[in-house]
Amino acid sequence: YSTFQGDYKWKKHDLTYRIENYTPDMSVAEVDDSIKRALQLWADVTPLRFTRIYSGTADIMISFSVGDHRDGYPFDGPNGFLAHAFPPFEGLGGDAHFDDDETFFYRSPQGYNLFLVAAHEFGHSLGLEHSQDPGALMYPTYVYRNSDTFVLPKDDVDGIQSLYGPNTDFDPNDPKPTPPVTPNKCDSKLVLDAVTMLRGEIMFFKGGFFWRSYPLSATVEQHLITSFWPEIPEHIDAAFESPLEDKVFIIKGEKVWALYGYEMAQGYPKSLSMFRLPKKVQKVDAVLYDETSYKVLFFVDNQIYSYNEEKRRVEKGYPKPVEEVFPGMTGKVTAAFQYKGFNYLFSGSKMFEFGAHNKNLLRVLNNNYFLPC
């Protein structure tokens, strides 16, 4: 997180806000609620309290305008800059302006979610600058997230509390959800949720994020899952690429989503039963697509089901113990993928490398072998 240099913070905890005008994109009630909830995010973790006034000058004046709106920072039409706000100060200080050339929405992943944009701008109104943490609300670029389940990330909580301290009058009987932390690929204890190939790239999933690795390049990008696929949930169970269908399947619980390239495939989520696993299987731990046998291996607890994609059925003789198929693999498999003739099975923070043809255990590597620090 980062705060404005100099003493840009409010010297009082009770602040006022006023909504000067409205966007035609949403109803008055939806705008009011979005603004109120956006401010409440910050109030929940600090001593700050926000009171709405309907006339006169509030600490935080909120308005929708287009182009040049006489503050020296003209808006730029659709997309580009969505809004801006001023740090705590006299006059314009604390005020938040929204570019009404954008299309704001109340809940849908379409357009720009006003709650999310407003919550970010109010971070500036209270003294926060942009954060370099890609999972932070104060990260400069817009990323859709589910506004109903949104929890202020830890980076933002740490930032705002560095200015105002924690909220001292929270109700111990109503514990707040734990602020999510952006996973760090250099964390030696990192346990990945899933790993899959996607048209030559390797995708590593963890929490609400994924890393995208181009084998031929040193750069690894980290993104929020929802910045690519708003529908895909956090903390997925497994993922695998099917060359036969040219799709990446993403599994969580009994639901299956599919990607075609980087686009969501139509007609999903479908049920896990599409893979004809026994009904008792309601969750898988990992999936590996074996290109040597064109089979999909589902890891469930310490067993493996081998699914024949062409015949659309689980192979006879399965499930088999994992250790029978991969001798030496004793721990629970949490993620798996095949890459250049080798099978990589993740168990906890370790990665076990097996030959794809002879299934021999070749090496035990650290989990960030493919995610260089």
Binding site: A83, H84, H124, E129, H130, T219
Partner: protein, 81 residues
């Protein structure tokens, strides 16, 4: 019927980059005609922006950097305003 002649693509991307770096990374507006001085100023701000977003720090306007510049975002500068 005539239609406006679109600027060449690289010219367009250059103006996107200069506008982005001017508004968000304190690139000073161009004064004088010293092209070399100007390009090093742009390269310096590009590096700052690439460092901020965790991109490869090249000082060059590569595709990845341009993609980030095109993302919808907040209009507050990323570096001390």
């Amino acid at each position: 019927y005539t239609s406006p002649i679109a600027p060449p693509a690289d010219k367009d991307t250059e103006s996107i980059a200069v506008n982005y770096l001017t508004q968000l990374y304190g690139l000073p507006k161009q004064t004088g005609s010293n092209a070399e001085k100007r390009s090093s100023a742009v390269s310096l701000r590009l590096k700052e922006m690439q460092q901020f977003f965790g991109l490869a720090i090249t000082g060059k306007l590569d595709e990845e950097t341009l993609n980030v510049m095109k993302k919808p975002r907040c209009g507050v500068p990323d570096v001390a305003a």
